[in-house]
Amino acid sequence: MIGATLSRWTMSFFSVALVALIVALVLMAAGTGYPSEGIADAGSLIVVHVTAIGWLSLLMCGALLQFLPVLVAHTLYSDALAWPALLALVVGLVALVLAFLQFGGILQTQVPYFAAAAVLLIAGFGLILWNLGATLLAAEDVPLPVWFVIAGLVAAVFTVGLGAVFATALGGGQAAWLVTLTAAGIPLHAIAGLGGWLTFTAMGVSYRLLAMFMLSPELKRQSTRIALVLGAAALAVAVVGGIVVVLANGNLMLALTAALVLAVGALVPYGMDVVFLYRKRRRPVIELNSRMAGVALANLAALAVLVVVLAVFGQLGNQAGAVVFFAAFGWLTGLGLSQLFKIVAFMTWLETYGPVMGRMPTPRVQDLVVEKRALKWFWTYHAGTWAATLALLFGLAIPFRICVVVMLAGTLGLVAQFLRTRRLLDIDAAKRLPEGTRQPQLFVSNAAKPA
């Protein structure tokens, strides 16, 4: 069957993810983690993992459950596998937070939280990978952007694998290779997670979502192929090469520098493709989601420049906190929030009005949102993020926390918009729920197939 439908649990993934984003911002505003604490302290580790697993990974998993079927024009392998995955990931994240508290000496118990977290997170990500992998295997055609997603999923395996190694070592594992990898492998874990799983997958999905939402031609360009090959090579050199180098006591800096050169080489053709999609669009007015995605993409370009400049001046190690922060919040969160603005409206529309199409006039997806109101919250969020990144670069802990409060205000404003969309509050009451339609539930989609 060609027609994909609604993924039942995507909205649940999004809801939990947004809660995690708010928690992460509240923690940072309250002074938990870097720069108020050391970058490897328990507080920093908690903030990083609530952001990376709770917010960004759950967002990406939810989005892939809905959009991988669109990318490969094949239905999702299993809707039912999604909720146990969500449960395992959430409980696994809670266990990981408890493990970090134990590691920091704040929680005094003998419960093996690290082991529990490793098992649960492997189970959660494993279920997601199984579901997406089976969907991919059943597809007749795997278009170029999907190869970015496949490379991203492979990077996710490495991220979770390295995380499990660290958890085993921190939980008391004594084997020499475990200790060696844990001592030197944290940059590899971060690169595999933020650069591979989250960034590379987002790049693949962005090709299709931007084309779909702006009515741009599908790319069949050499530049896309170059971006894929160089990007995958960068990840292979950094992560696989990095692991080998660490275990062989080699020069990790050399491998990471080579990977950085390859990564910049991949981002240039990707940037050209993105500019092409914006310029060749057939919708003259760019909707807010695509405009704000443009801001996030500009942040990605700025991030690449920042990394190169810091590397040239030998400051990359010292400024890792600022780099990771800007990658997570300027680029990935910026893109995530921009796309949520559209996807929540799109899914809510399908669920509510899809079943009555052809029987009566229906509102448009655009009628479920008020762009003008959301715009100010997007800018609030971005202004806060830019200022917070500068504060980190200059080591200003208190101004950083104030900037995070601004980011939190922007985020809460946007979450309020998503809730309004889900409740159809921006549609005239008289037209909101015509006969035969029903109010969607907040956190789950009714995936019933049309008659």
Binding site: L71, R208, W349, L350, G354, M357, R359, M360, R364
Partner: protein, 218 residues
């Protein structure tokens, strides 16, 4: 579809080359709308205000107009030619055409179509592509509508992108629309992505809405 234009010695006349055969043999010349009745293409061109003569050749269409300025008229003529070819009809009605012309589907409508076809078409116009916020008829997502003469309707349609999450709802909407017409008891909807949809398949109405110049696709 790309339509080339060529100037002629008469500034009031332009030649349009649609890049495909127009007439298999001979030529066709009409100076009034009535005289153009034999040719659905010429008939449609006379629908453009200002057109006074249409000549069809082997691979070209000559259009003469009296308004003087081609700048405003050319897009409309290009749009009419494009719309004609989208209907799949020939430039001339073949004598003794087995198909009943009045039930031939056209997104922009045909003055001679049956009441049922009009009803189905207008009902489909109620179905919107949720993402583009425009009806699927003018977007060019409906490739064909046909009737079996026994209360059965068949709709051949596509989506802007394969795997579109709205596919099932759009198909169901088209089916409901067909069933809403008088005398239609069963409706079947078939999905195809051959040919793949492109903006050139939009009607002039949709193109104007999205600001896409006539004659342009991707």
């Amino acid at each position: 579809m790309f339509i080339e234009t060529q100037a002629t010695s008469d500034p009031a006349t332009l030649k349009f080359l649609p890049g495909r055969q127009v007439l298999a043999s001979g030529s066709f010349d009409a100076s009034t709308r009535e005289a153009a009745a034999q040719s659905p293409l010429a008939h449609r061109l006379f629908g453009v205000e200002g057109v006074t003569r249409v000549v069809l050749g082997s691979d070209w269409i000559g259009v003469t107009q009296t308004r003087g300025d081609w700048a405003h008229l050319k897009p409309a003529v290009l749009g009419a030619i494009m719309e004609h070819y989208l209907t799949g009809a020939g430039a001339l009605e073949a004598p003794g055409d087995a198909e009943t012309p009045k039930d031939r589907f056209s997104a922009v409508g045909d003055p001679n179509e049956s009441a049922t076809m009009t009803q189905v078409r207008e009902a489909i116009r109620q179905v919107i592509d949720p993402e583009l916020g425009f009806n699927i008829l003018d977007l060019g997502l409906i490739y064909d509508v046909s009737f079996d003469g026994e209360g059965g309707a068949k709709v051949l349609m596509t989506t802007t992108t394969p795997g579109c999450p709205a596919t099932n709802y759009l198909m169901s909407g088209a089916r409901e629309a067909a069933l809403s017409a008088d005398g239609i008891e069963t409706a079947e909807v078939e999905l195809t992505h051959d040919p793949r949809w492109g903006p050139e398949m939009m009607t002039s109405i949709a193109k104007a809405h999205f600001g896409i110049p006539e004659g342009e696709g991707w």
